[in-house]
């Protein structure tokens, strides 16, 4: 069996995690730029982070036969100061040509503020200008529903095709609208606060497999880099076919990501 974890923050994980993921069948990961658990003090901090994502992580992953791709942006949590955010955004275009950069992400909202929305719109414009795909972070808990709608409205106001955008961290109250509006939807499997493997399987039973994927979003917090293979087991335990399981954990991410010609699983 092989799978893709299309949203995981490997900079926060140990090399053992790459090894265990490879043993569990992981053939590729994509890593969106995000918040490191603390606010960086300068744009230079982001420059170094983008170098880590584009130069160091692909090599670390390759030791275990895993392809590593990335998405670049300033995350919504650090985008509340528009002046600072613009300084960071100005360094992104130079990195977009790099061979493992798939697009802009994970952009979105955190507390649904006007400042966050301004910077979201400017990063959507950046994706438009450079013809990039987009990976979207949606807010957590009580902020998710409102934030998801605001984000979809902002993208719909641009010329970016919804089929080139993945809206991540969907749950039962947002997945329907995301799919109805033509976007791709990602289910994030988290040990406690987000979607569990059981609920991910439930969502598949309610909404089907089209334009839906799952990921671990493993990061520096309590999270599980093996969440995707565990969800595969959960689906199998419940009697889903191997074909269905492969569709949501391999075929669908491959299909979405392959819209960027830089995404390749073979040489």
């Amino acid at each position: 069996m092989r799978y893709i974890d299309p949203h995981i923050h490997m900079v926060s994980r140990t090399t053992d995690d790459y090894q265990r993921m490879a043993q569990a069948g992981c053939v590729a990961v994509t890593e969106p730029a995000f918040w490191a658990g603390f606010d960086r003090s300068s744009a230079q901090g982001f420059f170094d982070y983008y170098r880590q994502l584009t130069e160091y992580e692909p090599k670390r992953a390759a030791q275990f036969g895993i392809r590593h791709f990335t998405w670049l942006c300033i995350n919504p949590k650090e985008a509340d100061d528009p002046g600072f955010a613009r300084e960071v955004i100005s360094i992104i275009p130079d990195f977009l040509e790099r061979e493992t950069v798939l697009g802009i992400g994970e952009i979105g909202l955190n507390k649904n503020t006007r400042n966050e929305l301004i910077i979201l719109e400017e990063q959507i414009a950046l994706a438009e200008k450079y013809n990039q795909m987009v990976l979207v972070h949606t807010p957590h808990l009580e902020d998710k529903l409102k934030g998801t709608r605001l984000i979809m409205d902002a993208i719909s106001a641009s010329s970016i095709e919804p089929g080139r955008v993945l809206i991540d961290h969907v749950e039962e109250h947002t997945v329907g609208e995301v799919l109805d509006r033509g976007f791709w939807a990602g289910m994030t499997l988290y040990p406690d606060t987000k979607c569990t493997p059981e609920r991910a399987a439930d969502i598949i039973e309610m909404y089907g497999t089209e334009r839906l994927w799952m990921n671990s979003a493993g990061d520096w917090g309590c999270s599980d880099p093996l969440a995707v293979p565990k969800a595969r087991l959960e689906m199998a335990r419940r009697g889903h076919s191997a074909e269905t399981i492969d569709t949501v954990t391999f075929g669908n991410p491959q299909c979405f990501l392959s819209q960027c010609e830089k995404f390749r699983l073979e040489d």
């Binding site: 808990l141 419940r238 009697g239």
Partner: protein
Amino acid sequence: MSDPIFSCPQNREEVINTYFMEHRAKLIDLAAYLDRLDRARPVGDDADFRDTAFRDAIAILTDGQSQRARRILDLLSDHSTAMPQSADGMKGALGAPHRVSTEGGAA
């Protein structure tokens, strides 16, 4: 969305065989949590907005309608339209919306 009825590969007995014990434990956790609240001294006169939302959500479990997870998440969502300018000084998400209207401040 597609008709959710019978889209689970397992029949009802199989679902119960697979998941009953785990959810029996979660059910008792829930009851014990409510009992714990009964034993805890109240703070102030007003109910905590999170506790109010929690009890409203419990009612959804037994109202006989489907789509319980979606409806509970919807109940626990912020449905306001106001947008604060900045997140400066705001708390992180608390899991249930503050029903008190705030002029774009921390909620």
